[in-house]
Amino acid sequence: MTGSTAEASVTATDAALEAIALLGDEHGPLAFFQSGGCCDGSLPICMKDGELPPGPNDLLLGTVGGAPFYVDSEQYMRWGRPSFLLDVRPGAAEGFSLSLRDAHFVTRPAR
């Protein structure tokens, strides 16, 4: 289901958009995948677009700063089909997520 749906949505704060622009200058086009599980599992993982080709069960929720934002469709259903707000918080990223020197991406429920 790699296509956006009407009810799905992801938005970004100005700080997140600025970080996407800065990282885009350094790495080229980006993509986000909402992670799950161990450690920093609730964080979105930012990577070069194409680094992880989306699979048939990845749902494209929308784009943020030009970058596609995917979530596993079953995880998305189990999380109650939330709308995500992409933001930036202090501290380095974990996992293999691209990040600025001392800031990393987070997602929060959009309100």
């Binding site: 599980g37 680094e51 109650g80 918080r89 974990e94 293999f96 987070v106 429920p109």
Partner: protein, 513 residues
């Protein structure tokens, strides 16, 4: 500090009287030497207990991974041909060294991770030592198999090392998870390049200082740096024969994809949302077993909930819910939170500000989706130098399994509780999750416990116990909790190739040509 506190609290690393010495900065451990990162970059390493720096640690990149792989490849033939007797001796020497430095390593681990020193003294560090000792023992009992194909034809099966492997360690048990990965790899004759978690790069370097003359140069190499650079450079490298990873699901997918691109095996452990199930017969008597079951529920707060197998969903039979929960809440109220280096403290600091904010976010989600907050629910602001630390109160929500706080791993001291009517409903709720790493079953009825244990889709079902991690018991996930196992001597197979020599002792030709 009060007199009583002085007698139970270790001095922080680097301070006078502390069992842990701290250098200003730490380099990579490559080829038995301390090697500065090629780009000369370092990052400040904080303690979550106060939010203050401990030291600087190398911030490496792809070039440093190549140096470590050079060292590992230079060592691999020699180590792979080293007798199992000698490999066993080296692993036992590592175990001896860990045990001789138990207090120092426990204090370093607590200070860097935020976990209570009573846990590192009694669990993390002794278990790490035992892991090396276990694989030192079992490797000597290994033997190949001989298959008699017919009277003149024999298949000899040998286990051979893979060569050089890559291993990526999580931040929640920095030394124990490193031991889980390093011990079987080395026992099977491999050399390894280890990438510790970015928030906990240092305690393993304290171990490396101790064993730099114990393990032959190049057999164990440690490179610190960010996952997106250092971790990726290792996981996607053509010079590794296997990659092992513990962490979140999307990076797990990347790891498996890199492994597929290079056609090498991977093992991944990606977390869980483990159910802990309490049947009504638990309360059939007010005895030691009931006391054990209550502790079994409260173990969600072990290591501040930063455990892949955290029993973060409690399923309680509705007939005993009120009484059992009352006892558990009494036990939770009595949890002492504070300085991780205080031996009497049971709940320390979350590993990072990022983790703390994630917990705050999930507690907010829990409130908004209508879960009932039974206890906790706030950041715990401690005083003095601990005011800058990342402490969160032990928290319990009551709700239903379709809520997000029941479906996603929070990685904090946050328990989601619900009730069930009968065994069938308990099993349905237990399996209604993406994950399948751990589970707990509590019952005085052995038959029921057995049925449940076999019915739950998880790799480890603790039955009338929880959070035991003996080296001789397999550990790993079903479903999206990952692929592969850790612990147990079966790990030697995960770190070995099978060589089959198919030998004919018949002098006669086959007769085809």
């Amino acid at each position: 500090m009060a007199t009583t506190e002085q007698s139970t609290t270790f001095e922080a690393p680097g301070r006078p009287g502390s069992p842990v010495q701290v250098k200003e900065r730490y380099e990579n451990f490559i080829g038995g030497h301390w090697v500065a990162p090629v780009d000369g970059e370092y990052r400040e390493n904080l303690t979550p207990a106060t939010g203050q720096p401990i030291c600087e640690v190398s911030h490496s990149g792809a070039q440093d991974i190549e140096l470590a792989l050079d060292a590992a490849h230079a060592a691999k033939d020699g180590w792979g041909e080293t007798s199992t007797t000698e490999r066993s001796r080296v692993l036992n020497a590592v175990a001896d060294t860990i045990e001789e430095n138990l207090e120092m390593l426990a204090v370093a681990e607590s200070w860097e991770n935020g976990k209570p020193v009573r846990e590192t003294l009694a669990a993390d560090i002794p278990l790490a030592a035992d892991h090396f000792r276990y694989f030192a023992d079992v490797i000597r009992g290994e033997e190949g198999r001989i298959s008699e194909i017919d009277k003149d034809t024999v298949a000899y099966h040998f286990s051979e090392p893979l060569g050089v492997v890559g291993q990526i360690i999580p931040f929640n048990f920095p030394l124990l998870m490193a031991a889980w990965k390093i011990a079987p790899a080395l026992a099977a004759g491999n050399c390894t390049v280890v990438k510790p978690a970015s928030p906990t790069p240092w305690s393993i370097l304290k171990l490396a200082e101790l064993i730099e003359d114990v393990v032959p140069p190049g057999v164990l190499n440690i490179v610190n740096g960010p996952g997106a650079e250092t971790g990726k450079a290792l996981a996607s490298n053509k010079r590794i024969a296997k990659i092992a990873f513990t962490g979140e699901t999307v990076t797990g997918r990347l790891i498996m994809q890199y492994a597929a691109q290079n056609i090498i095996p991977s093992t991944t452990e990606l977390g869980g949302k483990s159910p802990n199930i309490f049947f009504e017969d638990v309360m059939a008597a007010d005895d030691e077993f009931l006391d054990k079951a209550v502790e079994g529920l409260v173990l969600y707060a072990f290591n501040k909930g930063e455990v892949c197998t955290c029993p973060s969903r409690a399923l309680i039979q509705e007939s005993i819910y009120d009484e059992l929960m009352a006892r558990c809440l009494d036990r939770i109220r009595a949890i002492k939170q504070g300085n991780p280096l205080d031996r009497t403290v049971q709940l320390g600091a979350q590993n990072s500000i990022s983790q703390l904010e994630k917990i705050e976010g999930y507690v907010q989600i829990g409130r908004e989706e209508g879960a009932e907050l039974l206890i906790g629910g706030e950041r715990n602001m401690l005083s003095g130098e601990l005011a800058g630390g990342y402490y969160y109160e032990p928290t319990v929500f009551k709700g239903s399994n379709d809520m997000r706080i029941f479906q996603e791993e929070i990685f904090g001291p946050v328990l989601a509780v619900t009730t069930f009517k009968d065994e069938a409903e308990a099993l349905r709720i237990a399996n209604d999750t993406l994950y399948g790493l751990g589970a707990g079953v509590w019952s005085r009825d052995g038959s029921r416990a057995f049925r449940m244990g076999r019915g739950i889709k998880a790799g480890r079902v603790w039955t009338n116990c929880y959070h035991l991690y003996p080296a001789h018991a397999a550990f790993g996930g079903y479903k999206v909790s990952g692929v592969g196992r850790e612990n147990h001597k079966m790990m030697l197979d995960h770190y070995s190739q099978t060589k089959c020599l198919l030998v004919s002792y018949d002098k006669n030709p086959m007769g085809f040509f």
